[in-house]
Symmetry: C2
């Protein structure tokens, strides 16, 4: 896959803009678990995912985490370019959840395009609206969903992402995704096990009853 | 105050665009407590606040509410124009917290400007980034702040908005702003009273010790 395949509005740009972008982007490969951006760190630029999976999350003063959204191939990460979107004033960390390849669009290049081209400006708008929708969804979950519902949803989502019913996930990791204490995760997983929805073995959670989990997650 | 004073990028538009906008906007006045948009309702257009105060909030299936952000004079409400920002896919309600005057920019007019003018497109971006920042702040509060801290913050904010130490607020209303059960609000306010931070009388909360509340809210 080339950059032009992964950047959704590439075809709508002028050939001059296409050339500018193609020459400026840098392809980078990172291993699973690489931290691309800690909270408060420098402006990386925009990331265009070629393969793999990134996770954007926030961290509390006490070191607890919660996943805000995930990025998949052909997704664009705007939050890593907070220097050109000055009104994005929050600290977000970005890490690779799998071995990941992405292109970096340098901030000044993107800013220039955004200021001179309505297609790019409105596309940026569209990405921002999608992220805002993700975050609103998370607020609803956190405010109003019981933890058993959220955990069932998370397990099903993980299973879909990994295309497997066997999830190699520690309780600590689930706690970091859902913003919950590890003890709460362990207690709820044991409850799910007693209901026959999952089977717990060392380092692995096997989903047994998808129908039950789906009913719970809704 | 005219529309041109309240719409921050008015001076950056061409005279043709200025004329188009000025002719299209409609000034509307609503009384306190008017519901401008229930969740899932029609596309109003963009609102440009002239005076008063609006509240954007979400509602759970059980009818609980939480305030997402507030809009003050010269603020722009984008969420009421979800028909032109298709990627904003969440239900938000908007109500007047005070008698309010605002201009409505019809959706088709704004869309046209956004598609043809980078200034408008990037300004929309900027508003969206500000809202995203508001929502991220709320997530951090809800996930990680103890309720006493959030309540202290809310009382101080209300006091600043009303320019008064006497707040005419029911516990029910505070519950709707903070997304908490009324009983929890009552219990915490009684605790604040026992600490000498507030005084509770029928329908009124008087802030007595701002320093203590400020320390709590941080």
């Amino acid at each position: 896959m080339n950059f032009s395949d992964c950047f959704p509005i590439y075809d709508k740009l002028t050939s001059q803009q296409q050339q500018l972008l193609s020459q400026a982007v840098v392809l980078r490969s990172v291993k699973k678990d690489t931290l691309l951006r800690g909270s408060g760190s420098d402006c990386l630029g925009l990331l265009v995912i070629r393969s793999g999976q990134l996770r954007a999350y926030i961290t509390s003063d006490q070191g607890r985490e919660v996943t805000i959204y995930r990025l998949f191939p052909q997704d664009i990460c705007l939050m890593s370019a907070s220097c050109i979107l000055h009104d994005l004033q929050f600290e977000i960390s970005i890490a690779a959840e799998k071995d990941t390849q992405f292109w970096i669009i340098p901030p000044n290049i993107y800013q220039n395009l955004m200021e001179n081209c309505t297609t790019v400006a409105n596309y940026t708008n569209q990405i921002m609206a999608t992220r805002l929708t993700d975050v609103m969804w998370l607020i609803e979950q956190v405010m109003w969903k019981r933890f058993d519902h959220r955990l069932a949803h998370f397990l099903l989502e993980e299973s879909a992402l990994e295309s497997s019913l066997e999830l190699h996930l520690t309780h600590e990791k689930i706690a970091s995704h859902t913003g919950t204490a590890r003890e709460v995760v362990t207690r709820m997983l044991k409850h799910f096990q007693s209901e026959g929805a999952v089977k717990l073995t060392r380092g692995t959670i096997t989903l047994l009853d998808l129908q039950k989990l789906r009913a719970l997650s809704q």
